[in-house]
């Protein structure tokens, strides 16, 4: 039992990390608030060249045919960078392969296509604006998924303006796919992104409190600040292995995979929500402005914490799974 990434998995993650560090600094995320900048498109294309968008796609469809254990560290890095766009949904949806509308898979594999998912099928979808394909349904792995290829979109203002939120009415065409896996991958990928966001917020805050002085000392020397950040660090350290375990369970067809995936979302959502509020608090008035980068990542964390089932929903799912007689 080694509970860690293999050398290949770590290497793949490092490639993505290096790419994002170079190509997706905070100013690119910030630029995404005013519509997708060219830099974001370039990062998507470069990630696609590494094979990220086709990570779960079968080899005969042109993908890497890798599994969720490869996926999670990659999406954690994407979360850390705050890359705008529906990468979780695109990677998840791309696994449909030939079931996608004509041309969509090629576009996704080239890094130009975007798949948006309205997982709760309520007509409100993140990244609807600019999406190549929209998938609706799949909630809890229990409702059918339909493909919507062209949609009438009405943009909706969101807290995080990179989320390109929109309402739509199109109904779509049912598509045959393993809905449970589709749902679990979306939840898992969102969990991975949340742990990455949480770590980014921790890093930003550690930097800030080490530099910012009040009362003649760095504010990071106050016990109240230290303890908040120590608790945050612990929440992240607990969530990260839980997300990785869920990936492994999904990849190996563990019968408890659904429980493990819900648990990953709960812990990652809690870590990210704590990261968002703690980082704003420790930045003081500076955290309450849009001038600081912390707001970019805190708002993303708040948005993703509610996506693909909020914490309470997944906690109740775990509770139901643990209740005897309800497991089967």
């Amino acid at each position: 039992m080694r509970f860690a990434l293999s050398a290949e998995q770590a290497q793949f993650r490092d490639l993505v990390r290096d790419l994002l560090a170079a190509e997706c600094p905070a100013q690119v995320v910030r630029a995404g608030w005013a519509g997708e900048p060219a830099a974001v498109g370039r990062v998507w294309t470069m990630l696609a060249e590494l094979g990220v968008t086709g990570l779960l796609v079968a080899a005969q469809d042109g993908g890497l045919a890798l599994d969720e254990v490869y996926l999670v560290p990659v999406l954690t890095e994407v979360g850390y960078a705050g890359l705008p766009g529906p990468l979780v949904e695109t990677v998840t949806g791309a696994a449909l392969g030939a079931a996608l509308p004509a041309g969509a898979l090629d576009a996704v594999l080239a890094g130009t296509g975007r798949i948006a998912v309205d997982e709760d099928d309520d007509g409100l979808v993140a990244h609807g604006v600019g999406a190549t394909v929209l998938l609706r349904g799949g909630w809890a792995g229990g409702t059918p998924v339909r493909v919507v290829s062209t949609v009438d979109l009405e943009p909706v203002a969101a807290v995080d303006r990179t989320r390109a939120l929109a309402r739509y009415r199109s109904d779509g065409t049912p598509v045959d796919l393993p809905v449970a896996v589709f749902w679990q991958r979306g939840v898992l990928g969102t969990s991975a992104a949340l742990t990455g966001l949480a770590r980014r917020l921790l890093d930003l805050t550690v930097d800030y409190v080490t530099q910012r002085e009040q009362f003649g000392v760095p504010i990071g020397s106050f016990q109240a600040v230290k303890h908040q950040l120590a608790e945050l660090a612990l929440a992240i350290e607990l969530a990260s292995p839980a997300v990785l375990r869920a990936a492994h369970s999904l990849a190996t067809g563990d019968p408890a995979a659904a429980t493990h995936v819900s648990m990953a979302k709960v812990l990652a959502g809690q870590a990210a929500a704590r990261a968002a509020t703690t980082s704003i608090q420790c930045h003081g008035a500076m955290g309450y402005t849009e001038e600081s980068d912390v707001h970019l990542f805190a708002k993303r964390a708040l948005a993703l914490a509610g996506a693909w089932g909020p914490t309470g929903w997944h906690r109740r799912a775990v509770a139901a799974d643990l209740t005897p007689g309800k497991e089967s």
Binding site: E119, D120, D122, L124, A126, V156, A157, A158, V159, D160, R163, L165, E213, Q214, F215, I219, F222, A224, V225, A273, T277, I280, Q281, G284, A285, M286, G287, Y288, T289, E290, E291, H295, A298, L302, A303, A305, G306, A307, W308, G309, P310, T311, G312, W313
Partner: protein, 373 residues
């Protein structure tokens, strides 16, 4: 512990006026330029009907209401969903200081105009190097003996609605030899004075409600020093006490939010969840604690460090109320709207008016008597 017949009549009167006058559609945010104008118009209507400053003397536009009646009015105001008060920095923060430290001339010049929303006040506390640590202020005032006043220079920041206001109150260092809490003076500054530059910037909730205020040799005459030269810290602490305590965040606002949360829970789940019930109880408890504190004040006591308990309570409560709502809203929580904006605004409540870390220090040291380091 019940409301008197007079108090019930006062409540009915307020409720009825609000029902007839509160705009049916919410105004645009008062922290944007266009919204601010709409809010000022609302404030003037409120003033004309005598509801702007209910607890003030009649001479300044008030009704000489008791503390209880003030709390009742606040409850009704928020229950009716009436607009947020863009005059609040003036009437809730500066006014108590003017009543306590102002000269009759200052009171006459500023209080009625403030109540009528003709003069719009913002506060000039924070500076880039002085946030939580207010005593680190470096903005300075240099004596201009010939002109009979002072020349103010420096930068104030995180000034709420600074870009839309007409006046600023704040602390400046009049004695450069002194440091920290000493040598500070409280000034009243018109923002159209020569040498003032105001730059708005954007807040966490997306509104342009903050400003940097730059002052370059701005002249302020002696009659606009509040509370005496060199007394700034003591005068400011009185105002800060108001801000943290009862006046800024009356329970009515949180009771109204709690009721909306209960309705949201029923709408989304068909019942009130445990989490929502807890938040509702916490809001009720804040109201009861306030009633108890107000009774102490009415009996001649002082609020003192207990205002830090209030500040801790309402600011943490506000976050919990909005976090509960986000849990109920799920994926919809990210849509820009009253709940999501309210959550971001609530996160600011733990920071402004003295961070909650500082409030906990104050409670521990001044109420419980624990040793300072």
């Amino acid at each position: 512990m019940s409301y008197s017949p007079e108090e019930r009549r006062f409540r009915d009167q307020a409720r009825s006026w609000l029902a007839d006058n509160v705009p049916a559609r919410p105004l645009p945010s008062g922290d944007t330029r266009e919204g601010f104008a709409a809010h000022v118009e609302w404030e003037r209507r409120l003033f004309d009907a005598g509801w702007s400053v209910v607890s003030w003397p009649r001479a300044y536009g008030g009704r000489e209401a008791s503390l209880w009646e003030w709390l009742i009015f606040e409850e009704e105001y928020h229950r009716a969903g009436a607009p947020a008060r863009v005059t609040q920095n003036g009437i809730f923060l500066l006014a108590p200081t003017l009543f306590e430290f102002g000269t009759p001339d200052q009171q006459d010049r500023y209080l009625p105009a403030m109540a009528a929303a003709e003069q719009l006040w913002c506060q000039g506390w924070s500076e880039p190097g002085a946030g939580s640590d207010l005593a680190a202020i470096t903005s300075r005032a240099v004596r201009d003996e010939a002109a009979g006043g002072w020349r103010l220079s420096g930068q104030k920041t995180w000034t709420t609605r600074g870009a839309f206001c007409t006046h600023l109150f704040g602390l400046f260092r009049t004695d450069q030899e002194q440091s920290r809490h000493r040598g500070l003076t409280y000034f009243l500054v018109p923002l159209d004075a020569q040498g003032v530059t105001v730059n708005g910037f954007t807040r966490l909730d997306g509104d342009e409600g903050f400003a940097d205020v730059f002052l370059d040799e701005v002249f302020v005459p002696d009659e606009d020093v509040l509370g005496g030269v060199g007394n700034g810290w003591r005068v400011a602490m009185a105002t800060t006490g108001s801000e943290r305590g009862l006046s800024l965040r009356s329970p009515g606002r949180f009771l109204a939010t709690a009721e909306r949360l209960v309705a949201l829970s029923v709408e989304r789940t068909g019942a009130v969840t445990e989490d929502v019930a807890q938040a509702w109880m916490d809001a009720q408890a804040y109201q009861l604690m306030t009633l108890s504190q107000v009774t102490g004040l009415a009996d001649g006591g002082e609020l003192g460090a207990a205002s830090s308990l209030s500040k801790l309570c309402w600011s943490e409560l506000d976050v919990r109320l909005h976090e509960s709502a986000a849990g109920l809203l799920g994926a919809e929580a990210e849509v820009a709207g009253p709940w999501s904006k309210g959550l971001l605004f609530a996160l600011g409540g733990r920071i402004y008016a003295g961070t909650n870390e500082i409030q906990r220090n104050i409670v521990a040291e001044r109420l419980l008597g624990l040793p300072r380091r």
